[in-house]
Subunit: 655 residues, 2 copies
Amino acid sequence: MKSGRSLRDLLFGRPLSTDDDEKERIGPAAGIGVLGLDALASAAYGPEALLTVLLPLGVGGLRYLVPLTAVIVVVLVIVALSYRQTIEAYPDGGGAFTVSKHNLGTNWSLVAAAALCVDYVLNTAVAISAGVGALVSAVPVLLPHTLPLCLAVLVLLAFVNLRGIRATGLVFMLPTYLFLGTLLSVMVIGLGRIFTDGPAPVAAVGAGTSQVGTTATVWLLARAFANGCTAMTGVEAISNGTPIFRSPSVVGARRTLAAIVIALVTLLLGIALLARRYGITATHPGEVGYESILSQLTAATVGRGAFYYITMGSIVAVLACSANTSFADFPRVCRMLGGDRFLPEPFVHRGRRLSFSHGIIVLTLLAAILLVAFGGITDSLIPLFAVGALSAFTVSQLGMVAHWRKQSGPRAMRGRMLNGLGAIATGVTLVVVLASKLGEGAWISVALVAGMCVLFKNVRAHYDFVSRATATEASLEVGPAQPPIAVVPMRRWDAVALKGMRFAIGLADEVIAVQVLTGDREVDDLTDKWPALAVEPSRAEGRPAPKLVVLRSEYRQLYAPLLDFVRQLEHDHPHRPITVVVSELVEPRWYHHLLHNHTASMMKALLLYRGGPQTIIINTPFHLRDWRPERSELTRRNGAPRLTGWWRRRFHRAR
Amino acid sequence: MKSGRSLRDLLFGRPLSTDDDEKERIGPAAGIGVLGLDALASAAYGPEALLTVLLPLGVGGLRYLVPLTAVIVVVLVIVALSYRQTIEAYPDGGGAFTVSKHNLGTNWSLVAAAALCVDYVLNTAVAISAGVGALVSAVPVLLPHTLPLCLAVLVLLAFVNLRGIRATGLVFMLPTYLFLGTLLSVMVIGLGRIFTDGPAPVAAVGAGTSQVGTTATVWLLARAFANGCTAMTGVEAISNGTPIFRSPSVVGARRTLAAIVIALVTLLLGIALLARRYGITATHPGEVGYESILSQLTAATVGRGAFYYITMGSIVAVLACSANTSFADFPRVCRMLGGDRFLPEPFVHRGRRLSFSHGIIVLTLLAAILLVAFGGITDSLIPLFAVGALSAFTVSQLGMVAHWRKQSGPRAMRGRMLNGLGAIATGVTLVVVLASKLGEGAWISVALVAGMCVLFKNVRAHYDFVSRATATEASLEVGPAQPPIAVVPMRRWDAVALKGMRFAIGLADEVIAVQVLTGDREVDDLTDKWPALAVEPSRAEGRPAPKLVVLRSEYRQLYAPLLDFVRQLEHDHPHRPITVVVSELVEPRWYHHLLHNHTASMMKALLLYRGGPQTIIINTPFHLRDWRPERSELTRRNGAPRLTGWWRRRFHRAR
């Protein structure tokens, strides 16, 4: 690689060779930062979302907190055990897409991929917005700058991810471990007090404070459960990203998964128990006096000292950074879709730092659109959120069940049982979530997933069509055919046009120079000079003389008459290639291009897209940088090898 | 012309043939609408600007109004008479640019052109802003929408002007004549009362009300005069635009000029006399109780009835529309600069409706930038304003003096005297305006004019360089030279690549297919298949076999290895043309292009801009639209004429 691109290197790091791939891989410690943030950050909003639904039950609702959390934890553990199976079965990255593709067929895999894509885009916007929201509620002077802050965080994340996986892991390790360390300390201190002081202070929680009937309570509990399930999003990330772990990657991925789930379960249970002990309920978000569960809980446990603020700071950081899981996985899902040609090919290519740059950029753009559309406050997107993740979970587990059914033995039996349990758990959860949130906007997720599946299918169909149209095993037999006609559009007789003419003469016996007169500017009609300029020299050398056609454009159009002329030639000579030699002045500096007409570029594009199958475009560049005033016959240098000699030599050799 | 582009025709009108030019010309009646609005609208702000300066003198300041207006009117008449000479001497459009170019040299003409450009851009922004400002002060509910309204008016003006001159004249005739009719009625009624009632009511205007010393008064009067001179801007427009009048265009232009100046003088004198009679002084703009002079005056004369509102409405319309003069003239100045290659050539071309579209679009963009930058309120730009116009006036008059000095006889003497007087009058005015406004921002105008002159000179120098570099009288002698090498980049062996290969084989004996393996996606290395695909068929037909070069790209770059390969070839064969055959799939629908890599486009661009002087780019399109599944050998259709036969025929013929 060349040196000298120092700015780009400084920003994005030096390019990585494809062989550097192994060095870019990471261990479990960094893996938690890259893939685990989404799952861990769930602890910050899952219980909160659950308790918010229980608000109508008053303080009495708290009695349902521990049982509901226990159910969620059970489902979570089942899901985690299922994904442990998936990691082992698909060490190359067994996302829901891969698993369902191999075991359930294309349609299911597209549903899973679409669901994940929707989930990841939403997660990016919601996580950044949540983090920035926590920040601006702590520092209200920043409130008017919510949207710019969100976009800044988004760009920062995109930027870090474009630098590659290792960079990401290292950057995110600090907030992750600060978050885990501080919150787990809060849990230990708080739970320690329960054992030393006994479960005394919860006098307020008794029966009878609810003003809600039994059926309504069941419905409320179902909705609380559905909301709490947002705590499970992000667990799938590790199985999608298995290949980013150092070899043996299965071991690394499993350890990371275990660490994340244990941490998450501890946090969820700890929060539930402490909230119940201190009688902490949700407050209405957006109203005066709102305070998050974790804030109340931390304050109740350790007081509002320095430790409180460090804990809150780490929560803000982890919320904002949890969008990073989407940045790690969205490009991988796109890559798999691209690999199967359900998405355009650039998603398959890795950038200079081995990250899938196109996916990162697309995710950034989509999230930016969401953030701008919602002004940086994405609360209304949360109902759309868990649907994608849970759909992908369910499809993935069903795929694993099918996977194990193909095999036999006790391991397959155990796998089948575990994944079956996972499928039931996530499937039921999905139904509950869908039922309770469909009206709140979850239908948008469903519609988006359906729309994306249609898109994927259409893209693939088009690529298949192109493949069929272009695939050939034909070899290079050629047989007899027709000589080409060379058309040389020119404005005036100058060195640029001359270079084109010389190439055309080498190429074809029949050369037609075309001059379009638009009448706008005094351009000399070449008719009078043509014999001296072109005809006589050609005759003197025993070559056929090039013709000149002057077209007058009544409507001052330069391109239409030329295109019509080429089409007419194609029509008149249906078996001969029509080569159009577009000579072009190339300026050494880009801004000098502003001074020119771009006639050549327009002409090339029109001939390419609107020419017939016989049209072939030849572009002869005349480089101004090569011109030196001291060279008397500049065309000798720039017209480069005088081409016609080749024709003549061929002629001589043949003779 | 084809039909079917009905939307574009509907928006911009059917295209006009160059021969339609004469039909697009206009008479004096429409000429006032096209070229006169700027001058006439001056009546709405000139006296106001003058009186605002006199505010410190109190009502006593009014006594200076009539004398100052008289001086301005004298200068105006001198300027008009001078321009009458210019119209006759330069019937092809004697703007300040042309006159000074012919008589004073290039540098002066560039100063004049730059001054006019600055003036026109400022005028566009200020006029629209003034019109919208008057509208929103009448309808305060629109106040928050000032900027969008300004931009809407701007776009509307641009749009009307793109439709051509005739359209413009017709659209603007109504507001112009309404403005003239209502305001002249006010004058007649008001002045009629002076004669019938005597000059009675002005009791307030006496000596001694001034609290300002004599020296300060002189300075105030100079500044009031300078401000009042904004009333003269726009008079030059007719001489710039002479060719838009129906033949004999000199007569049409002179009549229009006379009509405009008479109307303007009548308005200015009428306003001065009526203001003095009714004791109307300026009020502080932007403060509560602000009311424009014309509003006070109309109300005083005819009361606040329907007629008052019609008059005010026409003033608003004319203010907004007076930007139209800039739209008519700015593109013409650019066209002249472009004709002498001080600006890029597109400014010279006329659009489908014979208007100079590029100039219109550039003016729109520049004015839009000003409007957005100042939030639609451009009061602070007014001091920058008159400098450009007065500079152009002075240079133009000086040029006319030089013009007459070349001739003799009584007509030349009279012309010399008139234009000399004009030069002195505008020169002195310019000095007064500069002196009194330099600190207020007029220095920005001066700096802009200087900067633009430097730009013009640089653009011209670059074009001259390009002309020298490309001009050639060399004819088409060719002499002996070297055979080309054909390089065919290919990704895989398909019909698209095959078409390119076939053309390459026809073109050159030495054909090198280049496959770049980036390792990102499973693309088959062609090495094994190459003998069967290409080598054996070539040998069977007695042709030299094409070579295959497989390049492995460590950094997953597609283009750099290819470019390096081509450069190496150029280096190894310094006298042979290197033709790179870029085969390209052309999709029938534009959105399908989103699905592709644009590898071919990138490759073409890189080879064009970064290839050496020997590189020639050949683009063989493979049109998907031409493919039909039923054609068994699709390459026969799409690869079109099998090219190599041409080579072979040439070979046979030569033998």
